[in-house]
Amino acid sequence: MTVAARDMNDTILRVDRLRVAYDHPLGAVRAVDEVSFSLRPHERFGLAGESGSGKSTMSLAILRMIKPPGRIEGGEVWLGDIALSTLSADAMRALRLAGIAMVPQGSMNSLNPVVRIRDQIRDALADHGLTPGRRALDERVAGLLTQVGLPADVAGKYPHELSGGMKQRACIAIAICLRPKVIIADEPTSALDVVVQKQVMQTLGRVQQDLGAAIILVGHDMGLMAQFVDRLGIMYAGRLVEVAPIRTIITAPRHPYTRMLIDSLPSLDHRGGLRGIPGLAPLLRELPAGCAFHPRCPQAVERCRTEKPAVRPMGPDATVACHLA
């Protein structure tokens, strides 16, 4: 999935120094700390991180769906040339699904169990002012179902009548019904088995290509990222510690955390020692001074203990936040 040369300079989505905090009785916690990245049209961008990294907060923040006690503290998200923070609540609502759509984790929680699939799509369209007549709706739904590889009879079914993979594809169908420019897929396959996961991801990829949309894939499965995305951002303790083309991340990672993460993944090539990353990810409300990764970093030097590394560009597509890179 290469990105055409003429798209190199366009960005469809730009996140600029976004900061999200949660108010905790013991003090505010910074869940997303000055994260910046841009997304090109047609691009597949991955956002990887473990628990506590802030990646799930990121997808909610881009859609401006952070609820109290969380709040967006600062920074901006640009869709094309619209700054999302300047939109009214109604305008933002209109933008969700039509401009930026989300395929959420756990379709069990996002599909209304008492509403048929056709009607859920109808509701999504109606929320955006589109009320096609019965025939037009049926055609539209049939078209969407074909796009995601589901048989036409799914339209009249309830979510519990569908398997996990089918439910997730139904969620994709809803997400694309208004032809968004950006799709955020937040761990879309975590509850699915490996065989179904592949089918759903292939569906997602095909759909993205047909629409000419850009995708942000949020997750923790590095294998999935390796097979699906063009560029990958790695999050740790709320910061984007490295961004690079996926090839670079796998073969020549710059940040020690990325390096150790890749090393810790089990391969199917040969059986060798399994290596984990020692220590624990820090609690967001008890971040160490300096670089948040330094207690676990084998290459940490004195500077890492006192000075937080700034995010530095490493070429047109890459950034890294490390004193030693």
Partner: protein, 279 residues
């Protein structure tokens, strides 16, 4: 603790109301002559005055003394019946829910049948059948006989959910036996819920006893709150305009029920973290 009370207003209000009641009873016991709660002690039908702050009734009882003497009696009935109810109910509930099978079917069946029978009716029948004059303790036992039905059901459903939790399996792997699991693993998690159920049970026991007493089926010689209302009714105090006679017991009963109600709501919030308002 104080910070939590400020957030859990129901708990705070409940504790304050019951605290005031306790204060009233304690100070009252020390300052008021409770022998005046018996008939023919003081001049009859006096409206409230400095001598008789709550007034007096037709049989010559000092109503302040009646309140001071009667409130603890009513509460005692409630507590005995409530504790009995939840005690028996909890034992039955844990047994039924943990062991399932026929034990569960039997206990559940008896409780369900019992719950469909109108409780007050049964209590009336029992009270009427006892020929001799009732004492306060006997009253408590009568109410207790039905008080275990609802707690059995509600505690059972809580235990049913709890027993599916992973830590019960681990407890089994750790070698704990059934009763040990019930006492050591399940019960501690239900303490807040049991406390809330207890308070609710006490409240409904008091209601049942007051109901019986108003009908004249209570301990006639005792100056309980319900009996006072019975006399109010018997003597047509409302029509006769002796407003102080029914106001006093009414206010006390109100304080008791409101206090217990808010306490239940407050305890419920502790027991069910989902009800807690976000910090």
């Amino acid at each position: 603790m104080r910070r939590y009370l400020r957030r859990n207003t129901s708990l705070m209000v409940g504790l304050v109301l019951l605290g005031l009641l306790a204060l009233f009873m304690i100070v009252g016991a020390l300052t008021v002559d409770t022998s005046n709660a018996q008939a023919l002690s003081v001049p009859a039908l006096q409206p409230p005055s400095w001598d008789y702050p709550f007034g007096t009734d037709r049989q010559g009882r000092d109503l302040l003394a009646v309140m001071v003497a009667g409130t603890p009696l009513t509460l005692r009935i409630g507590f005995i019946a409530g504790f009995f109810g939840v005690g028996i109910g909890a034992v039955l509930a844990f047994t039924a829910a943990y062991y399932r099978g026929w034990v569960d079917t039997v206990i559940r069946g008896v409780a369900d049948i019992g719950l469909t029978v109108p409780g007050l009716l049964v209590l009336i029948i029992i009270a009427v059948s006892i020929k001799s004059l009732l004492t306060v303790n006997e009253m408590a036992l009568i109410v207790a006989s039905l008080a275990w039905l609802n707690p059995t059901r509600t505690i059972r459903s809580q235990v049913l959910t709890l027993r599916e939790r992973g830590f019960v399996e681990i407890a089994r792997l750790n070698g704990l036996s059934g009763p040990e699991i019930i006492f050591q693993e399940l019960m501690p998690n239900l303490l807040p819920y049991l406390a809330a159920t207890l308070v609710a049970s006490v409240s409904s026991a008091i209601l049942a006893s007051v109901g019986l007493e108003v009908l004249g089926l209570g301990p006639v010689e005792a100056p309980t709150l319900g009996m006072t209302l019975y006399w109010v009714n018997f003597n047509a105090a409302i029509i006769n305009g002796w407003w102080w006679w029914w106001l006093a017991p009414l206010v006390v009963i109100l304080v008791v029920f409101l206090g217990l109600f808010f306490l239940t709501v407050g305890l419920d919030e502790i027991a069910n973290p989902r009800l807690r308002r976000a910090a």
